[in-house]
Amino acid sequence: MLATFIQQVINGLMLGGSYALVAIGYTLIFGVLNLLHLAHGEVAMIGSYIGLTLVLTAMSQVGVLPIWVVLIVAMLGAGIVGIIVELIAFRPLGRKQLHITPLITTIAVAFVLQEAAVKIFGSEQRSFPIKMFDQLKQYDLYLGGFRITFVQMFIIGASLVLMVGLYFFVEKTKMGKAMRACAENTMTARLLGVNVHWITAWTFGIASALAGAAGVLIGLAYNITPLMGVSLGLKGLTIMLFGGSGNIVGAMVAALILGMIETMSVAYLVPAWKDGFAFGILILILLYKPSGLFGSRLQIEAGR
């Protein structure tokens, strides 16, 4: 009983950590650009396929790759995809856009990415090869008859490291400062000499790299399908609102809460209603606390 409970807590942490990476990307893009990037989940999906392809090719050519190399390459790949998305679906819109224009173009991108993934990788469920995990078994932790696998530790650890890294990047570096300036007021930032186009591209790149990491981590724990981006994106969105839009720490905490709720509801309540819980939470937040649990840095209620 206790063992299953602890197992569920670990699953919740794993899920929450991966969700947090997606949600932080959402928050970054939403904060800096005031834009809902609805293809964000799809970018994560592409990231996990990049990781999978890399592992499979490396396995046939040289052997099993270290897990962190896979993660970094997938992040780079997803980051590049993210910047391309920005160049295609956001940059050309210019400043005269309505607030839903980028919504529509990013949805179009999401569909294109999904179809591309089906075309290139096939529509069936895939997962990382078992051979890759065999090697890592030796690092598993045994705590009094209870096992924590290396992959589980890696997922939790990697998401923590990335989150902390991002936090310091945004708060302490010059580019992070420029991003926060853009989030505050794009026009003023421009007047003060911030290259807004450059910052925009970087924001997309970093957010997408995090999404790519999340894609790989989720792929390690569960499966990879071309449609995984849809639910991943929706969860990220929910978490972003839950934690307070534009609030990075809020997104991290909210992600852990949602990950826990989801695993617990699968384990102890009705599994079929799993997604219903996430959306129920989303609705309740929007109704009673649109600024999120930990306060929003931005005014997003202001209509068109």
Binding site: T101, I104, V112, V230, D275, G276, F279, I283, L286, E301
Partner: protein, 297 residues
């Protein structure tokens, strides 16, 4: 070059060989596009129309299949039932605006989907089979004509002007004595009514409905009809629904690359006409041939 020409010829000749089923699908999609246009008349973007469509479809099917209600009456009741739900949902939801409202209505659509996935009386995940194929061209285009006449007359009515005022500036509208909440609720509930009837028509055309007939993708499709066609005038969603429905069948010859081409078209339209293909200025020749005036967004 030859391929492209052939494709264009196919696209044009295809227009004259549309079968009854195609026309019904196009008509239902037009109705759904208009159902989304109603909230837009007060400036609210609702992504939940697929959810309302689902509710309407299920009500209508239960009425005709299990209670043996006369089809037009079942449609009306489905519309009214959905409208009431739309009204009730609208009361809390319409306090939000802009992107948050879009998200909220979208979440509503998802909840409806999960509800019907788990709702035993309507077959849960299996859906309902063996629905009578009552829907024909007359029902679809008759209802569509009613909605169009309603919208055309609404535009210059007292109510329509109030809607327009709310859309342009809520604060100013409120200051002029318009009851903003009431205007929004009416528009939202009417949209739900239209979506409910549309759902009933759809169910009796498709003969088989399941929770995921009304999923995320359907919601996005409906949004696309309006956004691509034009969201300022009611004939915008009509054109959008036609183009999208027709292209998705006509682009079959591109088979493998359908979605990619489709995505590019959407992005291009959004870059050059962010308000959609048709707008208030479409018939304004000065805009096409003269200097570009600054049009308010």
């Amino acid at each position: 070059m030859h391929v492209v020409l052939d494709a264009l010829v196919n696209l044009v000749t295809g227009l004259f060989t549309l079968g009854e089923a195609d026309l019904i699908t196009i008509g239902i999609n037009m109705i759904m596009g208009l159902s989304m246009f109603f909230p837009m008349t007060v400036g609210q973007l609702s992504f939940g129309q697929a959810g309302f469509m689902s509710i309407g479809a299920h009500i209508a099917v239960v009425l005709t299949l299990y209670a043996g209600v006369w089809f037009p009456l079942a449609l009306l009741l489905a519309g009214i039932g959905t409208g009431i739900i739309g009204f009730l949902v609208g009361i809390p939801v319409l306090r939000l605006r802009g992107l948050l409202l879009a998200l909220m209505t979208f979440a509503f659509g998802q909840v409806v989907e999960v509800f019907f996935l788990n709702f035993k009386p309507t077959g849960a995940a299996e859906g309902i089979k063996g629905i009578f194929p009552y829907t024909d061209l007359w029902y679809v285009y008759g209802f569509l004509a009613l909605v169009v006449i309603f919208l055309a007359r609404l535009r210059y009515s007292r109510m329509g002007r109030a809607f327009e005022a709310v859309k342009l500036d809520e604060t100013a509208a409120e200051a002029m004595g318009i009851n903003v909440t009431r205007a929004k609720l009416i528009a939202f509930a009417t949209g739900a009514f239209v979506a409910g009837v549309g759902g009933g028509l759809y169910a009796h055309h498709a003969v088989f409905i399941q929770y995921d007939n009304f999923d995320f993708k359907r919601g996005v499709d409906i949004a696309m009809y309006m956004v691509l066609g034009g969201m300022d005038v009611f004939y915008g969603p009509l054109l959008g629904a036609f183009i999208i429905t027709y292209l998705s069948t006509a682009l079959q010859f591109l088979a493998d690359w359908r979605w990619e081409v489709w995505g590019i078209i959407v992005i291009l339209v959004m870059i050059f006409r962010p308000q959609g293909i048709l707008g208030r200025d479409t018939l304004n020749l000065r805009r096409w041939f003269g200097a570009r005036e600054a049009t308010p967004a």
